[in-house]
């Protein structure tokens, strides 16, 4: 199973949402990281065939979406960002409906529905109308429907947005369960969501991939550039103004600063092991502040 993006672009008038993106996906979990507006959702929509690229091609095992037709979509499971539900349907009805859209026969539709509702812990409320569900329950139902056809490509767009930390952990575990032997592309701007489950990281900025690396080597580019320093509060203000401070932690009357700089920012700054969050802030620090 190989999904290939070749020079994929999406242009809206003069604005380029996705700019000449190429990537090869083999089974594994891919964390698509980027600030809001980086082009993640546009790229995912194009992979899911609900938005046509302005140029470039998307191929599955060497064949384009157009060539594969329904067969391409049969491989897909998609959980869009903020997607709507039918408020007057129950969760079970919604799952059976989606199973029909995905071409599952009646028996398999019923089995998968029960199995997945159980897996996402919604069995007890399966006959309640979706309009009565909380945000977290809706998100869980969203991922359950994406998994209905046991897809070989699972696309999850900001699946943890709006969830509280406990729900996010639960969600990560569900995704990890589903991820076996399939291509999972998970977009988020919450770094901790992917740091636990992703095998590879794709960093996206202004429609382009800045970085495509395996988790083990993803932070190599900032190795030796992340520093920690313990200073008093007055000095901390000074550092914040003059350096890229990615974290600030108060310890008694002192402040521990974490900075990303090419050279030592002075004082007793110590080089520390870079994290994925450091990397994210290194690339998107200014954008996220906006």
């Amino acid at each position: 199973m190989e999904l290939q993006l070749q020079d994929v672009s999406k242009q809206y008038g003069t604005k380029c949402a996705v700019n000449n993106v190429s990537a090869d996906f083999a089974p594994g979990v891919y964390g698509l990281l980027g600030a809001n507006g980086a082009g993640k959702t546009t790229l995912m929509r194009m992979i899911c065939g609900v938005l046509k690229p302005t140029s470039g091609s998307i191929r599955l095992n060497g064949k384009t979406m157009e060539e594969l037709g329904e067969e391409y979509y049969a491989h897909l499971g998609y959980m869009p960002q903020d997607f709507g539900f039918y408020p007057d349907f129950t969760a079970r009805e919604f799952m059976l409906y989606m199973a029909a859209v995905k071409g599952l026969d009646k028996k398999r539709a019923r089995n998968r529905t029960e199995e997945l509702l159980h897996m996402v812990n919604l069995s007890d409320v399966a006959d309640k109308k979706i309009k009565s569900y909380s945000g977290g329950m809706k998100q869980r139902l969203g991922i359950a429907q994406a998994e209905l056809n046991s897809p070989s490509i699972l696309i999850l767009d900001e699946p943890t947005a709006g969830l509280d930390p406990k729900e996010r952990v639960r969600f990560r575990n569900i995704i990890a369960d589903f991820a076996k032997e399939k291509i999972v592309i998970l977009s988020t701007h919450i770094v901790s969501d992917v740091s636990y489950i992703a095998d590879r990281i794709l960093m996206m900025k202004q429609g382009c991939f800045l970085l495509q690396e395996g988790m083990d080597a993803v932070t190599d580019s900032i190795k030796g550039k992340v520093w920690e320093l313990l200073v008093d509060e007055r000095a901390a203000g000074e550092y914040s103004r003059n350096y890229t401070v990615v974290n600030l932690h108060h310890e008694n009357n002192m402040v521990r600063l974490r900075m990303i700089e090419e050279t030592a920012p002075g004082g007793d700054a110590q080089i520390v092991e870079p994290s994925l969050e450091d990397l994210f802030l290194y690339y998107f620090g200014e954008e996220t502040e906006k």
Partner: protein, 408 residues
């Protein structure tokens, strides 16, 4: 399975149920109004509602006869006799009319029939009543059917109609198929239905309102991405949506028809279903019974409904909001209501008679026909072909609209 769920999606919306309930109540009210307002008179005064209907039917029982030349001549003669006695005749300074027992016994029970006979002898654009019967010379016979044919010829040759020879032949040929002598009888229920057909356009609008979100609702609710990325999202799902819309439209239409037909027929009875349309107006060329005429026009309105469903689905697939779809549909369905024909010829009138609101009116006696080379078709045939064709054109366009929809 998909059709079932798409049908459920339409039905589950509270707004759909409310719109349908309002539409059914409105249809019931509009078609029930003639029953509620019905009144007839006899010497003792006015009789309303079911009592009036029962009385009228009793009177008509004596009139359920074939309108032979002899019967018509005798009828005219009877009225002429009544007018001979000055004691029976009143005068309002403009025209003479029968009064007292002569009116209540000799005219009132069969006034509709007498008016029909009198009008058969009138000139085009003239509306005569029973009080014109004394002016007729029937010494050598009534020649009712000869007169009926001649009157139609006069109507067809009226320069304002601008009918071609082929069109005149078409109508004359059609009228030749009318069985004579005409069988007379009671037909009130059917007349109410025929004269109220255009009220069904409210039902058509209500159905369009309910199905307006079939595609655009998915865009609005944000469910488009997930269904379009499903295996059948761009294929069988669209077919299911279209099928569910037609299924819903058909069921809703049938419910409205049950009310629209049911109320007048329950009140006035089904009497007259097998009587010819000409007993309501001898100028009608269609050789239909009342039942056939009602079925025919109901069928045409159903075809209009299918085309309007097609148009609604097309707009729904192309527009981002069901409300925009509704605005267009209201304009399409009801603008023709405010356009009045100024004749039966010319591009304006001929187009107007094919527009959604006007199309619901059968216009049986207007000789509206369309000619393409040597081929002549009447309004009913053109309407049926046009709306069937529109349905066939709209559906692939609606399908394409959803298939090509971009989730952005």
């Amino acid at each position: 399975m998909l059709i079932k769920y798409e049908f459920l999606k339409i039905l589950r919306k509270k707004s759909a149920l409310i719109v349908m309930a309002i539409s059914l109540i409105l249809t019931g009210f509009l078609f029930g109004l003639p029953v509620m307002q019905y009144q007839t008179y006899n010497q003792d005064g006015v009789m309303k509602g079911t009592a009036g209907i029962a009385y009228e039917k009793e009177q008509y029982a004596k009139l359920s006869v074939p309108l032979s030349e002899e019967y018509i001549a005798d009828t005219i003669r009877e009225v002429q006799e009544l007018f001979k006695s000055p004691a029976h005749v009143g005068y309002d300074g403009n025209e003479r009319f029968l009064i007292g027992d002569a009116y209540w016994n000799g005219v009132a029970p069969r006034e509709k029939l007498l008016n029909l006979i009198a009008n058969n002898y009138s000139s085009p654009n003239e509306n005569l009543g029973y009080n014109n019967l004394p002016d007729l010379d029937i010494t050598s016979g009534a020649f009712f059917y000869q007169r009926m044919k001649k009157r139609m010829e006069t109507l067809l040759n009226d320069p304002s109609r601008a009918l071609s020879n082929e069109q005149k032949e078409y109508w004359s040929g059609m009228a030749d198929d009318v069985d004579i002598p005409l069988q007379y009888g009671y037909y009130e229920g059917w007349e109410v239905i025929i004269s109220s057909f255009e009220l069904l356009m409210f039902a058509v609008l209500a159905i369009c309102i309910v199905i307006a979100p079939v595609f655009s609702g998915e865009y609005q609710e944000g469910t488009d991405a997930v269904i379009l990325s499903g295996k059948y999202g761009k294929t069988k799902l669209i077919t299911a949506k279209i099928a569910a819309s037609f299924l819903f439209g058909t069921v809703a239409f049938m419910l409205h028809i049950i009310l629209a037909w049911g109320l007048p027929l329950a009140a006035f009875g089904v009497d007259g279903w097998n009587l010819p349309l000409q007993i309501a107006n001898t100028a009608i060329p269609y050789p239909f019974t009342f039942l056939q005429a009602v079925l025919m026009n109901t069928g045409i309105i159903y075809l209009v409904l299918l085309a309007m469903i097609g148009l609604t689905l097309l707009l729904s697939a192309r527009m981002k909001s069901p409300y925009l779809v509704l605005v267009v549909m209201v304009l399409v369905l009801f603008i023709p209501m405010f356009l009045t024909p100024n004749g039966t010829t010319g591009a304006y009138n001929l187009t107007l008679f094919l527009l959604p609101y006007r199309v619901a009116m059968p216009e049986f006696s207007k000789y509206i026909s369309y000619q393409l080379g040597g081929l002549v078709l009447d309004a009913l045939a053109v309407r049926a072909i046009l709306y069937a064709l529109l349905t066939v054109i709209m559906l692939p366009l609606a399908r394409l609209g959803f298939q090509k929809h971009q989730v952005a």
